[in-house]
């Protein structure tokens, strides 16, 4: 299914191969943007981005682009992989356009994504993992009411050393109670 969501400042929609652009590629090659993503260990090209987009079937796995209403520009993505048996979702976000950092973009747009996952897709729990030194992301998960469910100690390489990964989750009931 094709996804189309809207917030005050952004619209979100399913990505297709035409969204594999030099702009998108520039994010994948920016060390600061990629700092907390596992994809930073891979080599990226327009073809690899097209393959990544095509790898989401829009039935149980979604790659949803975030677009600024004012400029029309593609500024980031959500990846959401649903388990239809357990009604759980593993999600992650990338805001590749630095001009949209520190502007509440994640809090605003992830709310729409959660509404979609819980209401349209019938999911019951959404999860997200964060590097312990990704302070901005930790702040956003907490501010949005997610629970810190656990910590994977010294789980990933980060910078010159290793760091923990914090596991967050929010249930459908918890999200609906906040709305």
């Amino acid at each position: 299914m094709s996804v189309r969501l809207e917030t005050g400042r952004y619209f979100l929609r399913t990505l297709d191969e035409t969204d594999a652009t030099e702009r998108y590629l520039s994010w994948m090659r920016d060390p600061d943007v990629m700092r907390y993503l596992h994809a930073r260990f891979e080599t990226h090209s327009l073809d690899s981005i097209r393959r990544y987009i095509a790898g989401h079937d829009n039935l149980t796995s979604f790659l949803i682009g975030v677009f600024c209403k004012e400029s029309g520009l593609h500024v980031g993505n959500y990846s959401a992989r649903c388990n239809p048996h357990h009604k759980t979702v593993e999600q992650g976000v990338l805001i590749g356009d630095r001009a949209h950092w520190g502007r509440g973009a994640v809090l605003e747009t992830r709310a729409a994504v959660l509404d979609f996952l819980f209401d349209a897709q019938g999911m019951e729990k959404v999860c997200g993992n964060v590097y312990a030194d990704n302070v901005a992301s930790l702040f956003n998960y907490k501010a949005q009411g997610w629970r810190h469910e656990g910590t994977l100690v010294s789980h990933v390489k980060s910078g010159e050393g290793r760091c923990d990964v914090l596991c967050f989750a929010i249930s459908r009931d918890e999200w609906r109670a906040r709305r």
Binding site: W101, G104, A132, D133, V135, L138, F139, K142, A143
Partner: protein, 63 residues
Amino acid sequence: MASALGLELRDVGSDATPESLNAWDSLGHMRISAQIEEKIGRPLTGEEVLALASVQDVAAHLA
């Protein structure tokens, strides 16, 4: 706190929280965390970052 959030000292009350200060957003939290780390000489754990929910929490960390 005030310098990390780009505010005047008088704008940061002793009971301030992210909910009460617009400037205390994700980037503000990064700057607060960075200043604490500089003061205490070590990185904060993820749990410690999460626990910084008020001016009092920040003060307790620096005590």
